[in-house]
Symmetry: C2
Subunit: 198 residues, 2 copies
């Protein structure tokens, strides 16, 4: 792309490495950035560098946060004996948005995937086992309903149950508002298996 | 979004201001940035700041470039008596990609739009008029085929023709590979009006 100047090409190049941003979007973004007031551009790059510099894992639950202990782990209003295990911080945020869960979390930062060569040692499992030595009554496994998520759930269940701690798994089934016609067979069978008394 | 830390929320907030990036994509981008190696993040922010600092208008054609004169205007191999007028640098790049145009360009950085209050003084028109005092034989108006683009084309034609310079407009019609069935009526009528002898 030598019809743009070197600096613009370099910028488009960097932007197109980001997930979900193709060559066309990168071009549009680059020119948008060039037309933005300097103060706004500085605020954007500042926010990136600032977050990158200060964000770390919470000492307790391993979520991404900018203090030693995340707001949820630091809260005395939450039930610290109930731990929901999720794959990443965005999944934690998804459950927090419901506003109904009052326990705490543990963020694995991944899931076990033999295909991708990701084993139990590559996710934050050791940190979870350390926490279980405290006063924990229930571990709710909320990993994704994918092959990796299910494998992780099975592994966790086998690992934790012998310690006498209750291990539960979030329900799998038809999403609320979902039309049966458009739902895959595996989900339909799961919904049938998990049926409850009315 | 207080389930994320302040710095992460600030980052998502800044990212979601960019065009075409909604709240969900901003979240995904933010966590991608946090997981990227520090060197890559620095390269990205460096590219943004570097481009923002050095990119300016070409002295001659007003395109965005990082030298006083853009590579096209500086080239002796191009025909400087033929000027193609485009709305922005991305439109210039679109024609450069064809590899068949050998003249030079003039970038208006916008189009006349009475509805948005953009008049002839708000685009790089004065700069174009100055260039026309030199040795120019043809001005090819390649503004978009929108209301604003057409208005600008009409305005340019009225302004330049009296100076005895040839003013042409790129053809409007059915795109190559386009199926007549899916093409709007205005385009179909334009294609009919602009029909050529076989």
């Amino acid at each position: 792309m030598d019809y743009y100047s070197t600096k613009i090409t370099a910028l488009i190049d960097e932007l197109s490495r980001l997930p979900g941003i193709g060559a066309k979007s990168a071009g549009r973004l680059a020119f948008h950035l060039l037309n933005m007031p300097e103060a706004e551009v500085n605020r954007l790059t500042g926010a990136i560098l600032d977050a990158k510099r200060t964000v770390r894992y919470c000492r307790e639950c391993c979520t991404l946060t900018d203090s030693d202990l995340c707001p949820i782990c630091a809260s005395t209003g939450r039930d610290h004996s109930q731990i929901m295990v999720v794959e990443n911080t965005r999944d934690l945020a998804a459950y927090e948005k419901t506003g109904k869960y009052n326990g705490v979390y543990h963020v694995l930062h991944g899931a076990i995937s033999p295909a991708l060569g990701i084993g139990p040692a590559d996710i934050k499992l050791k940190e979870l086992m350390t926490r279980l030595q405290g006063n924990v009554e229930e571990v709710i496994v909320a990993t994704n309903s994918s092959l990796e998520g299910e494998t992780t759930a099975m592994y966790l269940s086998k690992l934790i149950k012998p310690a006498g701690i209750r291990v539960t798994r979030i329900a799998s089934g038809v999403p609320v508002g979902g039309d049966l016609e458009y739902i895959d067979e595996v989900t339909l069978l799961r919904a049938l298996e998990g049926r409850t008394q009315l």
